[in-house]
Amino acid sequence: MLAGKRPTAEAGGRPRVRLAANAALAVIGLCFVLPLAWLLLASVDPHAGYETRWPQSPSFANFAAVLTPGLLFQPLTNSFLLSAGTAVVNLAVAVLAAYPLSRYQSRFNKPFLYAILFGTSLPVTAIMVPVYGLFVQLQLLDSMPATIFFMATTTLPMAIWMTKNFMDSVPLELEEAAWMDGASGLATLRRIVVPLMRQGLGVVFIFVFIQAWGNFFVPFILLLSTSKQPAAVSVFSFFGQHGAIAYGELAAFSILYSVPVLILYTVVARGSGSAFALSGAMKG
């Protein structure tokens, strides 16, 4: 439907092309925004259902209703602990793993990098069943630290890959100067390389954090007690178990839960251009 509008109008001259492209983009944009309309409207409508409509009496009652420790703060704190924990573990391991990969030529480098790349391609949903079995055997079920470590392993390949690419752009000369002065490898890493790639590391941190924040499946399987579940899981039980779904509250909760990652993404996109973050992940 849209393909026809694309570049065929070229013969008609620039302004017409631009107009056609704008029109086509506007239609696509509308299609993308429609599913979100319900979320936004229902959140301020105390009598919301699955219909999309202007609220009769718009209010923040839904937000007020979910702003309780049990419903909102506890799950969001759990989400934060899981995501921040995962990102910290990732960053620490990724820096240590990326350093030799970036700085020393070894014949194990390439196979290792390809293995990492390979690791990014394993579907996490497929690994969950055996991991659950493993967690049962090791009696780690319902343990926050164990869940953090598992979530960290799932995002680690991508984190190492990105970190290595960022590290490659830190000039070697500065480090060599430090070695001359007798600094050890680990000291140069900590004092020189890491500070210089601060921005890149920020991107990796936020990238992992966003992924962990939105992760539903892993905590859904590995964390059992309600007090440990992150928002992704608690909002699901909110939706599934109450007989009558409080649609408005569900929408309000969803928005409050989404805001942190939307802000974080904007920070990355503003600071470095979203293409930059992606190129860190994509270039080979």
Partner: protein
């Protein structure tokens, strides 16, 4: 990462279960689980649905739409492009469970889609029940296109301007320049993108689970959903793991092709 994979292959040859005798002492059952797959009525259906889901929503939908949006953006520029880009990216950045709720509401009986159709006098149906595959495919296109769009925007921005201008001078029409110049230049990005979105879509669980839970009567049960149901709902860890192993194998095959492509791209 490797330990669970190894364990997974081992467990797929046992009758490990969530509860009962087999939970404590799983027995080696050889290829039983795999043989059961072949006779199971749901497994072939589920494998087929997975293929359809990946082919239509990722390879056709996300990939083509992402490319179209990126191309349109290079021709429009300005406010429309950045506004549409923001909207597309927003549905990608949203936590998966929130996106799934929004898609559920959109396709439900009283949802936005039917309200829109109603405006044109068309009587909608309960899409999640009548056309569950179509609903989850569209939802996955909606959610995932941003990734392809970003990849192609980055790729297109690196296509040298003078090459396409030279072609324009030679009188090449829009679609000719696209087919013979632009697409061959960004070939590498297309391959990488296809591989990544294929693998991402292969693993989609939450979206389907929230929207249809695999139903009605398995009409939208892809392999991740089936593995989950067998292992956690029916308690048959051994069989669930066997299904998961098949999924891992598919991922491994795609991963191998992916690594090859990247290797080939820069010798």
């Amino acid at each position: 990462m490797l330990a669970p994979v190894a364990w997974s292959f081992y467990a797929s040859f046992t009758n490990a279960a969530l509860s009962g005798k087999a939970a404590l002492n799983p027995q080696w059952v050889g290829l039983d689980n795999y043989a059961r797959m072949l006779t199971d009525s749901v497994f072939p259906l589920s494998a087929w649905l997975t293929v359809v889901f990946v082919a239509v929503s990722a390879i056709l939908g996300q990939n083509a739409l992402g490319l179209v949006i990126a191309l349109l953006m290079t021709r429009s520029g300005g406010a429309t492009a950045s506004l549409v880009g923001t909207v597309v990216v927003a549905s990608w950045i949203l936590p998966e469970i929130v996106a799934a709720f929004a898609a559920y509401a959109y396709f439900s009986q009283d949802g936005t889609l039917n309200q829109l159709l109603g405006m044109f006098g068309v009587q909608g149906t309960n899409w999640l029940y009548a056309f569950p595959m179509a609903a989850i495919i569209l939802a996955n296109v909606w959610r995932g296109t941003a990734f392809s769009m970003l990849v192609y925007r980055a790729a297109l921005s690196q296509v040298p301007r003078d090459v396409s201008e030279a072609a324009l001078m030679d009188g090449a029409r829009g679609w000719q320049r696209l087919a013979f110049i632009t697409l061959p230049i960004i070939r590498g990005s297309i391959a990488t993108n296809l591989m990544l979105i294929t693998l991402q879509t292969l693993a989609v669980f939450t979206l389907i689970w929230v929207m249809t839970a695999g139903g009605p009567s398995n009409a939208s049960t892809t392999l991740p959903v089936l593995a989950y149901q067998e292992a956690f709902k029916l308690g048959d860890i051994g069989y669930g793991t066997a299904i998961a192993s098949v999924l891992i194998l598919i991922g491994v095959v795609f991963g191998a092709v992916y690594v090859r492509l990247i290797r080939g791209a820069k010798p």
